[in-house]
Every structure is written in structure tokens, then in C-alpha cells.
Symmetry: none
């Protein structure tokens, strides 16, 4: 958006807002409106119940352009493809929750990643009733939780999107206005979402072959490993190293099998 | 609310959310829901177009109790009576703008006033279409403006309320000394330094055995792997998983060697 660029907030154009399985077209319209008020523009919809829909257009008010350029994907993987960093909203407490970020920290991290890499980042919201599934959340590098009343933490989807987009705008303003003349140290190139997914596929097949992962009794092993490497925010070179290590192990495993 | 008191957030019970001349009952419901998610409870309505209204109840979801205890006033003066500090939302630029607060500063000030005086404070929102009139804004001690896209600053009323209530909750948590994040889930037990060193020894010997790491040409592989896992801050359980994986690979490698 020209306006964002003028304000040095072009980083907001590289933030995808991904709605996974939204049930109510009104919420898609509310998302578009919330995004546009904060200068965001890239809306992705994964298997929306109804889209396009006149109800969405009515709720979007002056933000129908965001609906017009929205992308529809068949899977969350597809919507995240090509991103360098992803964060997913969750209200639930679960055992993987210890590394959750609050909205402010998550916004700072998303903006920083996008700025350092010029790559796209994604903020993922789940279905209105059920939120993100464990599997969906597992595809995100980090979970984000909005601090809410423990007795009633049920934010409306549009309200949650508004709040996150607001924090993203503030983070973008802060980071572009903070120390504009001190260029950040160039960070090593981060792995893309695709590279990370390929690594996890490789890891899974290697530890299945080695007998460590029993496909019939997976014991939440892969989610735990995703959480570990998600915290690390893998770099491109590290993926190459890890996959090299796996390949060197694969050879040994194949040899064992041939022997048997 | 008991819950707020338990968390030292009783100050939120002294914040009135005042909607002046709301046109759409749906927005009154959205306001109730947004307030309750952040632990606020005192809703005041000045000359609402329709209240009570089933549309408001539907939109309030589990926050109908807030609607039930809402107060209806004939004038903004009446709704502000008895408060010690008031802030009014405005998107418009006008000559008062030099003293406008952003949401974060406004929330901090509201909480501080209420805490220092044990009095009630009010946050005032205008009509959906026209906002607060100059006269209404004149009754508030300070104007507040949400930083928004100058090309499209039209926040939905419910979204604006959600955002302000969120900032109030964060401000209350900060001023009462709580962390601005969710209370205390027990962190998974971190690995000790000793356990981490044993893991790195194991990793080194496994990738030497697999042929990936050449002891004569180590190529900074181990420092790179240390950096990766260092960023993740390994937990005790994760060390057990990683060493289990290595052991499963070691078996394959040993078999290969015996074969050779």
C-alpha cells in the first residue's frame, strides 16, 4: 500500500493474516476491515465456509479491496508456503504452551523477521468455535496467546485480529522509527517454511526407519520435535546441516536393512 | 469480579466503558463481550437506539451478565457523574490533537488515576457513524486516538473497545506488579548444563561414526550445532528424545560397520 510505504511501514505489506476454516463470512469482512485500519493488506483464507459472500462485503465496509485481493488456499501448508516466520493464535492451555508469546512480543518478532529478511511472515487464526487444532498450531513456529480474563477468554475473531494488527502497526512504527540509521547486523538467512517442512518430513522418515518412531504409537514425538526446532527458528544453512546428518544416518540404516 | 480481584486487577472493576448514542444493538453486545474478555464489567449506555435487544444478547455470547448490569443514562454528564478521570476516543484531527494520548498512555493514566484515588474512571466511545461530538469530547479530560492507517482509520466500534480494554488489562497488570502475560504455567524443566554437554558429546560421536563429521576437517560443524540448540534452550525431556534418536541411529551405524 502506497500509504504504508510513505510511512516507512511497508513491512506491514509482508504480513499475511491467515484465517483457517472460518465459519462466518461476517468475520472475514471484519478481518479485512481490522487489517486495513492498521495498514495490513494480505488476507489468506484456508477452506472458508463461504467466500466470496455479500455478508463479508457488508462487514468489510471500506475494506472490500482487501477481500478482492484475498487468496484462498486448500490447506494451511499452502497458505504458509513461502513465508519465513509464522505465529499462531491460541487461547488454550496445553503442555506445549510454555513458549507462548504475548501479542506485543509476537508482533515485534514478526516485524523483525520480515524486516531482516524482506520475506513474508504469517499470523494464523483458527476457526471461530474450535480455534487452531494441534496439528495447525504445529505448523506455526510459535504460539501466541492474548492475555485475557481466565474466566472468559473468548475473544471474537474480528476483535482478536484487530488487536494483533494494532500491535503489528505499533511494532512496525517502533522498528522503523527507533534507530533508523543503525542498520541491524545482517542475520543469517532463515529457512523458508517449505524447507522446514521438508526437514520435518525427512526427520520423520529417518526416525521411522531407525525404529525410534513407531507410526502406530507416535507418542506426540513429532509435535515435540516441532516445538523444539520452532523455538530455534532454523536458518537455511542449519537445515542443510541437519538434513546432511540425517542422510548420513539413513545410509547406515539402509545398510542394516540390507544385511537383515 | 471475583476473578479480577484474585489477580490484583480489581482496578478494572472501577473502569466504566461508556457508549454514547450507540445505533446498533449488535455493537452493545460486542462491547460487553470485549469488556468481559479483559476483565472489565461496568458498561454505561447513553441514549442507546435500542436496549435491551436480543441482537445485543446474541452478540454478547457468554457476556450477557455485563448487559444485565449495564446502566442506561439520558446524558453523557449523567454517565460520567462520580468519576475521577475520563478519556474519550476520537479519530478526528482537531486543534485538541496536541494533547491526545495513544491507547497505551491513556490506559496507563486511567489505571493510575483509579488506583491512586480508589475512584471510578471512564472511557467514552461515540456513535458508530459520527464519533464523539465536540461537546461530548469536551466533557472528557483527555482525548485518545488509536494510531491507524491515515487512509482508512475507520475501526469498528467493538474492535476499538476490544483494543482499549486490552490495553487497560495490560496496564492494570503492569501497575499491580503482575507480568503482563498469563499467570504462571509451570515451565517444562530445563536441561542442566551437564545433560546438554553429554548430548553434544553423543551427537559428535554419532555423526563421526556416520561419516558426516570428519575429525580432521571439522568445518565448524559442532559450533554451528551448538548455536542452533543453544537458541532453543533445551529441556530435559527433549534431551532424552534427541539422545533416543541418536541411539536408534547408532544401532544402524554399528550394524553397517560390522558388515564392512
Amino acid at each position: 500500500m502506497d500509504n504504508s510505504n510513505m510511512n516507512g511501514l511497508s513491512v506491514l505489506d509482508r504480513v499475511r493474516v491467515v484465517l483457517s476454516r472460518p465459519s462466518h463470512p461476517g468475520n472475514i469482512g471484519a478481518a479485512a476491515r481490522a487489517m486495513k485500519t492498521m495498514g495490513l493488506s494480505r488476507l489468506w483464507l484456508v477452506s472458508p465456509a463461504s467466500f466470496p459472500d455479500p455478508v463479508a462485503e457488508a462487514r468489510a465496509c471500506g475494506a472490500v479491496d482487501i477481500l478482492g485481493s484475498a487468496r484462498v488456499a486448500d490447506s494451511l501448508q499452502e497458505a504458509l508456503s513461502g513465508t519465513v516466520f509464522t505465529a499462531g493464535l491460541t487461547a488454550r492451555r496445553r503442555d506445549l504452551s510454555a513458549t507462548r508469546l504475548d501479542p506485543r512480543a509476537a508482533a515485534a518478532e514478526l516485524v523483525q523477521w520480515s524486516q531482516n529478511t524482506s520475506g513474508e511472515v504469517a499470523l494464523v487464526f483458527g476457526n471461530e468455535a474450535s480455534g487452531l487444532s494441534n496439528e495447525e498450531l504445529g505448523l506455526c513456529a510459535l504460539p501466541v496467546t492474548i492475555p485475557a480474563n481466565p474466566a472468559y477468554a473468548s475473544l471474537n475473531l474480528g476483535a482478536a485480529i484487530q488487536l494483533m494488527c494494532y500491535e503489528l502497526r505499533l511494532a512496525a512504527m517502533e522498528q522503523t522509527g527507533g534507530t533508523p540509521f543503525l542498520p541491524a547486523e545482517p542475520l543469517p538467512e532463515p529457512a523458508t517454511n517449505d524447507e522446514i517442512e521438508k526437514f520435518f518430513s525427512h526427520l520423520k522418515s529417518s526416525i521411522e526407519a531407525s525404529g525410534f518412531l513407531d507410526p502406530d504409537k507416535p507418542r506426540r514425538l513429532m509435535p515435540k520435535l516441532r516445538r523444539l526446532f520452532g523455538r530455534a527458528r532454523l536458518e537455511k544453512e542449519e537445515i542443510a546441516i541437519l538434513r546432511g546428518i540425517l542422510a548420513s544416518f539413513d545410509t547406515g540404516i539402509k545398510a542394516t536393512r540390507q544385511k537383515q
